[in-house]
């Protein structure tokens, strides 16, 4: 009797208590019982539900709904597969100098770069997402004698602007003011990188086209890629809402470093993003992408430009090569006898029908210069391919949050807000109308997937702050990096470590948190409160951060 009542009740209970996961990204129709809104990280239109090693590769429902799936798949292939130095055929046009052969190289698993161990700077394998930031230590600005993203590779007869085998990364240990120990005795380790690039790693210097004096007091830092997923959703946040957030923070006055007054002061945005040189008409846009907030809308953002400047494969709107502003590499190349010797064969392949008289007339030095600096090179990537790439770029979904009903994760979420992490790592935004702006005026907005009025959970305030870390990011100002999806990094890349922070220095979440703890850091108070928590609560916060 006891047994049958139990079974009867059990049957009733189980049939009343379905907790189905939604279906995978391509369908997503199976709606469920009560999942919290923060489960839907990309909103209804921008979330996918796959948590395997392909978690960051899924199309958004918006892509599917708009019938853009084939375009998405084509763009994906362009992102994943390497470009070749052939002059025709699929993915041709690599070079004459380039940074990587494919986008995947820097975005393993479509996400954040992996930490590179000590040694030379190696970029032939997929996974190294570091860009070398070569800057002037006195001005903190980028040097002019290398491209902002310096190229380590070249197509014969040309030679790479930098010799990566001469550039070295070292890792150093760091002990914070607390001896890397929590009050309860638990310890952690902290490491940070240093990069050395001797002058003779620079081709133009070796060729005598660049002097040590011109190179000045330069230094080199590392900045890693972050993930591509969810960038479309961030783009859908309105300019007004971003301005409102900056204004609120200025008014609150909680940040001991204040705000970056190069961009914002007295309640006003000061230094807008404008495109005037590459198809744009100078319309001002609020800055929203990259650590340095160097970019405005996505359609003229890091990816849209990288698709051209990483490989130097030209487009109808980029019929020129990405090179250093000072012209030092061109100068060195044009005078290099090896380059001159190989130029005939090279130019015969590039311009077999001699459509560019300037590549064929004059001295060899003049001809090489004309080719390298040309502003109307033949187009290597079609408009359709670029559009497909941007459909994919804008169309990458954010994986839904994991373990949302785990008690520790929920406790961690509460604490994350209680101790103030959520101030900079603002949990959510509601997107605006998302009319899809393009400062370069290539896209009219109808070609790409849209995310209007979505509640999204990126855990960033889209504002820059300072952490005052040892060997800090260039200028010290850093946009709060979105935390969404980062807990899946190791699964999707196979990295042995979490590789958090801008240079992948943090091997797990604890290290990442403790790098926020400098005395002058904007996060100092939150870190003090974190340290005061017991281990169970600290671990709960870590679990939460990995779950979002």
């Amino acid at each position: 009797m006891k047994k049958s009542i139990f079974l009867l009740l059990a049957v009733v209970a189980l049939s009343a208590c379905r907790t189905d996961e939604p279906a995978t990204g391509n369908q997503g129709d199976n709606q469920v019982a009560e999942l919290p809104e923060w489960y839907y990280t990309g909103g209804e239109l921008g979330t996918a539900y796959v948590h395997t090693s392909h978690a960051l590769e899924q199309p958004t429902p918006a892509v599917i709904n708009a019938g853009m799936y084939q375009s998405f798949k084509n763009g994906e292939a362009l992102f994943e597969n390497p470009f070749m130095s052939n002059t025709d055929g699929v993915r041709s046009g690599l070079g004459p100098v380039y940074i990587r052969t494919s986008c995947l190289h820097c975005h393993p698993g479509y996400g954040h770069g992996k930490r590179m161990e000590a040694g030379t700077f190696r970029t032939d394998e997929v996974g190294n997402g570091y860009l070398l930031v070569v800057y002037n230590k006195d001005t903190e600005g980028y040097v002019s004698w290398l491209a902002g993203m310096p190229q380590g590779h070249a197509v014969a007869p040309f030679k790479a602007p930098i010799d990566e085998s001469k550039i070295t990364i070292e890792w150093h240990s760091y002990t914070d003011e607390w001896g890397n120990t929590f009050p309860d005795g638990e310890t952690y380790e902290l490491i940070y990188p240093e990069v050395t690039m001797p002058a003779d790693a620079v081709y133009a210097y070796n060729e005598g086209a660049l002097t040590a004096e011109e190179m000045g007091n330069y230094g080199v830092k590392l900045e890693s890629t972050i993930g591509v997923y969810g960038t479309g959703l961030l783009d859908a946040i309105s300019d007004e809402d971003i301005i409102a957030e900056w204004a609120k923070q200025e008014k609150d006055g909680y940040m001991q470093n204040g705000l970056n007054t190069s961009y914002f002061e007295g309640g006003q945005w000061k230094n807008f993003y404008k495109n005037t040189a590459q198809g744009g008409d100078g319309t001002p846009y609020v800055r929203r992408y990259t650590y340095a907030m160097s970019r405005g809308p996505l359609q003229d953002g890091a990816g849209a430009n990288a698709f051209w400047n990483i490989t130097n494969a030209t487009r109808s709107d980029r019929r020129f090569h990405y090179l250093d502003a000072a012209g030092s590499w061109v100068k060195a190349s044009a005078a290099d006898p090896d380059v001159q010797a190989g130029f005939e064969e090279y130019i015969a392949q590039v311009d077999p029908n001699r459509e560019y008289p300037e590549f064929w007339e004059g001295t060899t030095e003049e001809r090489i210069t004309a080719y390298l600096t040309s502003k109307n090179l033949p187009v290597e990537v079609s408009d359709q391919e670029y559009t497909d790439l941007m459909v994919w770029h804008r169309g990458l979904a954010v994986p839904s949050a994991r373990d949302v009903d785990d008690e520790d994760v929920q406790r961690g979420k509460e604490l994350f807000e209680e101790i103030g992490c959520a101030y900079c790592h603002r949990p959510s935004w509601t997107t605006g109308d998302d009319n899809v702006e393009d400062p370069a005026r290539f896209f009219d907005g109808t070609e790409l997937p849209r995310y209007p009025h979505q509640k999204i959970w990126p855990y960033t305030d889209m504002v820059q702050h300072k952490l005052h870390m040892v060997n800090d990011i260039r200028t010290g100002w850093c946009r709060t990096t979105p935390l969404w999806g980062r807990g899946l990094h190791q699964k999707v890349t196979g990295s042995p470590t979490a590789d958090r922070m801008h240079d992948c220095r943090a091997r797990d979440v604890i290290e990442a948190i403790m790098w926020h703890g400098a005395e002058q850091s904007d996060a100092r108070k939150s870190v003090e409160e974190f340290r005061a928590l017991d281990k169970k609560d600290r671990d709960a916060i870590v679990k939460f951060i990995d779950a979002i």
Partner: protein, 387 residues
């Protein structure tokens, strides 16, 4: 215990169950038996599908490397024949067959160690290859170990060296015997590099102690020992060192691998060139991966076999995800199995050279069929992810 309080206790328990707490005894039992079913399927998957597939691939890649060395020797001795080149070509096809049959499990080592782009990037960077051959000819320093781009390596580089097309592009022949010395130096180097990567892949899933001593030595000398035993990791889900918290997670990965390759076959490998051929701006008729060996149809069918092996096991009697799905949703299982066979058949109806049959009805029919398979596999994923 007195009857009344027992009933009271049961009522309290049942009310908490109705309130949707998941920690009931029955849910645990159900979850445990699910985990057991998944564990059996995963163990059979690793031992009878993944490892043997990679072993076949590695063994044939080693034979391929040997055959390329023989070609080089015969050429030096002035006795190179078409038969010898054809034989190497057959090892290429065999090794590649196993590779295609492994594409339902590209996650793990093939991705993490960049083995996929290393051995399967295409097209060949012919321009870079010509530059490299010139370097080899002029006695300059060269290597294919470090600092070389993927467009110079792998299956497609070897393919270019072993096969060539007739004038009209309709037939694939063994490459002519009149190689240059530099070409053969390059071929041997690339074939050996390919073999090393294939062996690495096998060892990554079988464990270093799961491969022959010769293969172990090869990896140690090349400094390519895997750091994770991916097979062990999947077979011991939930235990220390595993990448998976539960066998359910491992099963999801298994099926997602199938979804991904099915989708790629339908919409990228076939979809992109076919749409291009139909004048659809979203396509590109040049998007054909193995242009010299005319092996596309066989490749695509290999991918379907990969899905079949992963989903329903390779050997008769293997425990599999199909078994589990059959037990909870037999209609879905039948649907998947049928669509797998139909996909294989439909693809088989497309004629080679694929490049010249892109506009045939058989091509679009095959794409549609495989997309049906994608949808069915996604339903399987949804079924697996239920709590």
């Amino acid at each position: 215990m007195r009857a009344k309080s027992t009933i009271f206790a049961l009522l309290a328990l049942s009310m908490s169950m109705v309130a949707c707490e998941t920690n009931t005894q029955d849910t645990h039992i159900e979850q445990d038996s699910k985990e057991e079913a998944f564990e059996s399927a995963i163990v059979a998957y690793i031992d009878n599908t993944v490892v043997p597939t990679y072993r076949g691939m590695a063994n044939n890649a080693l034979l391929l490397a040997e055959a390329c060395t023989e070609i080089q020797q015969a050429h030096t001795d002035g006795i190179l024949t078409t038969e010898l080149i054809a034989e190497a070509g057959n090892y290429w096809k065999e090794s590649r067959r196993y590779w295609e049959e492994s594409e339902a499990f590209l996650f793990g080592a093939a991705t993490d160690y960049n083995i996929d782009p290393h051995i399967d990037s295409w097209p060949l960077d012919k321009n870079a290859m010509d530059d490299l051959l010139a370097d080899i000819n002029s006695g300059k320093d060269w290597s294919i170990d470090n600092n070389i781009n993927y467009g110079l390596l792998g299956f497609h580089a070897v393919e270019y060296m072993l096969f060539e097309l007739s004038e009209d592009g309709a037939v694939s022949h063994p490459h002519k015997t009149n190689y240059t010395e530099a070409e053969l130096i390059y071929l041997v180097a690339v074939a050996n590099d390919l073999a090393e990567q294939c062996v690495r892949l096998e060892a990554a899933w079988a464990g270093m102690d799961g491969v022959t001593a010769d293969k172990r030595t090869m990896l140690e000398e090349a400094e390519l020992e895997p750091s994770i035993n991916y097979g062990q990791s999947m077979k011991t889900a939930g235990q220390g060192g595993s990448l998976y918290k539960t066998y359910q997670e491992a099963a999801e990965e298994l099926i997602d691998g199938c979804v991904t390759i099915a989708d790629e076959v339908a919409n990228t490998k076939m979809g992109t060139p076919v749409k291009g051929a139909q004048g659809d701006a979203e396509g590109d008729r040049n998007y054909i991966e193995s242009p010299y060996s005319l092996n596309s149809i066989v490749d695509f069918q290999g991918n379907i076999i990969s899905i079949k092996n992963a989903y329903s096991g390779s050997k008769a009697g293997d425990a599999s995800i199909s078994d589990y799905i059959k037990s909870v949703n037999s209609t879905l299982d039948t649907e998947v199995m049928t669509l797998i066979d139909e996909s294989y058949d439909y693809i088989g109806r497309i004629q080679e050279p694929f490049a010249q049959h892109l506009s045939d009805k058989e091509a679009t029919d095959a794409i549609d069929k495989v997309n049906e398979l994608v949808a069915a596999l996604e339903s399987v994923y949804a079924e697996l992810s239920k709590n």
